[in-house]
Chain length 104, copies 2
DNA sequence: CAGCATCCACGAAGATACTG
DNA sequence: CAGTATCTTCGTGGATGCTG
């Protein structure tokens, strides 16, 4: 999950704002393409993190919602965020002080 | 960090087993190539997570060790591990039950 | 509106050969 | 032993066009 670029942002939106339509997610994540958004949502659905509800209307409406399994990730997000707030400045300091060969 | 394939495994070895030589890391991570191991170690050094100690001997000896900054990541590893132990079975169950289109 | 199909760009990673 | 150099492979992600 973490390894894919847009999974966390998508999940974050659904955890934070509740049930959302495809287009509403696009508004919240202006840089994501429709293709990638679809791919990530399918994967999240397959893995049990979101539910997809399709309404047979015109124009079409599809809503996505985070599951309890997704909500169980809250401590992971919290711990990562805490670490970042407390320690990321040290990373930046190390980078500024680094004198060795450039990292590819 | 998480986004790169070998960063976590390398860091895990150094946090778990202490100071290690380049070759000792290769033994613990048999699938990593020397090139990638070097790249990740350089990046970890640049970002302040490991120290590199070079001994001017023949044959050469280089030792890597996790810093306090690396050790500060312990809660992140713990939380992720806890989540996995408690919930990964649910992901596998969701995958087994999934009937939709295959995810690229 | 919510997508799918197609093609393309790019960077991480792998394979292999060589070296101080 | 601990790398470096070079080439190739692979997969994510981006851009564009089309459709029920």
């Amino acid at each position: 999950m973490i390894y894919s670029k847009w999974t966390s942002p998508v999940l974050w939106c659904l955890l934070h704002d509740g049930r959302l339509r495809f287009g509403e997610l696009r508004v919240r994540l202006p840089r994501v393409t429709a293709k990638m958004l679809t791919q990530r949502l399918r994967q999240l659905e397959r893995d049990g993190f979101v539910t997809r509800t399709h309404f047979d209307e015109v124009p079409p409406r599809v809503e996505y919602e985070a599951t309890d399994l997704a909500r169980s990730l809250a401590p992971v997000f919290t711990t990562l965020g805490e670490w970042s707030r407390r320690h990321f400045a040290e990373v930046e300091a190390a980078r500024a002080a680094y004198k060795g060969p450039l990292v590819s």
